[in-house]
């Protein structure tokens, strides 16, 4: 007889999509996720937060993806109880990884609002550079905590975890 396990099996994804890392897909995928959250959880607040999370995670994944057949993005939405997780797996240029790790660690060391204001100050002081506001927006506007998982084969998974309400 099998021993009872302490580990809770992972929730089955509510949404699971795979697609090529193409900028023009982002709008359609975001709007589907907004509709999905609005319809499934009956909360427009979550739908708006989901839009920010999906837009910014997908933009990052598309911007830094390598080319080739293995570069498909995978988007998952999972929910258990009051918790909801949005995660995007991608195959980024390995040169981008240290920057991403540093950015996540810097953001995590501050409150969401502090990190957001700091990102605005940095953008203001670096005219002509990339905005780099996306991850701070996910934490503050999206009210989601971010984590990074490195997967075999050079893939990474960025997960944004928040609450349904």
């Amino acid at each position: 007889m099998a021993e009872p396990s302490d580990t809770v099996p992972p929730a089955r994804p509510l949404v699971l999509m795979r697609f090529r890392p193409v900028w023009t897909y982002i709008d359609g995928v975001r709007e589907f996720c907004r509709f999905f959250c609005d319809t499934t959880f009956k909360t427009s607040d979550l739908a708006e937060r989901a839009s920010v999370v999906i837009q910014e995670t997908l933009e990052n994944a598309v911007k830094y993806s390598t080319g080739g057949d293995e570069a498909e993005l995978e988007l998952r939405i999972q929910s258990q109880g009051e918790t909801i997780e949005f995660s995007v797996s991608s195959l980024p240029d390995p040169l981008h990884l240290p920057t991403l790790r540093a950015e996540l660690s810097s953001i995590a060391s501050q409150t969401p609002e502090e990190a957001y204001v700091a990102a605005f100050l940095r953008a203001a002081s670096e005219p002509g550079e990339a905005s780099r506001l996306g991850l701070a927006r996910i934490r503050h506007e999206g009210r989601a905590e971010l984590s990074l998982e490195e997967e075999p084969g050079g893939r990474i998974r960025i997960t944004a975890t928040g609450t349904v309400c």
Partner: protein, 125 residues
């Protein structure tokens, strides 16, 4: 006063831009990859026209802008910085927002903090 005839808005997919004598109205969404190349250039032209016509205040009505990406927020940040760095009389930049729209409620106070003497946030209905 601005002369709308001299400020033709750029053709940006999914956003509608209106120009009047006292400012700009935006509606739709902005999620293009490089909005600085289209909208940013247009905002810069409006900014220079406002300085040239010695406008005391310029209204930017974003209430109808339901969603933007971070590159678009960056364009608004740039505008706030231009106003704060303008030499001479300058003008006040008034953003009219809808506080019920999350990105507007959260991001405009942060933009105003960057140029507190020059940027005003007004809550519209």
């Amino acid at each position: 006063m601005l002369n709308p005839a001299l400020l033709p808005p750029p053709d940006v997919t999914s956003v509608k831009i209106g120009v009047s004598s006292d400012g700009v109205t935006l509606s739709g969404s902005i999620t293009t990859k490089e909005p600085d190349r289209s909208l940013g250039r247009f905002f810069r032209t409006v900014h220079e026209a406002a300085l040239q016509s010695r406008l005391s205040e310029l209204r930017v009505d974003v209430r109808g802008l339901s969603f933007v990406n971070s590159s678009a927020i960056r364009v608004f940040i740039d505008w706030a910085i231009w106003v704060s760095q303008a030499t001479g009389t300058g003008y006040r930049l008034r953003f009219v927002r809808n506080p019920n729209v999350t990105w507007q409620r959260v991001s405009f106070p942060a933009i105003a903090q960057l140029a507190a003497q020059h940027v005003v946030i007004e809550d519209g209905s």
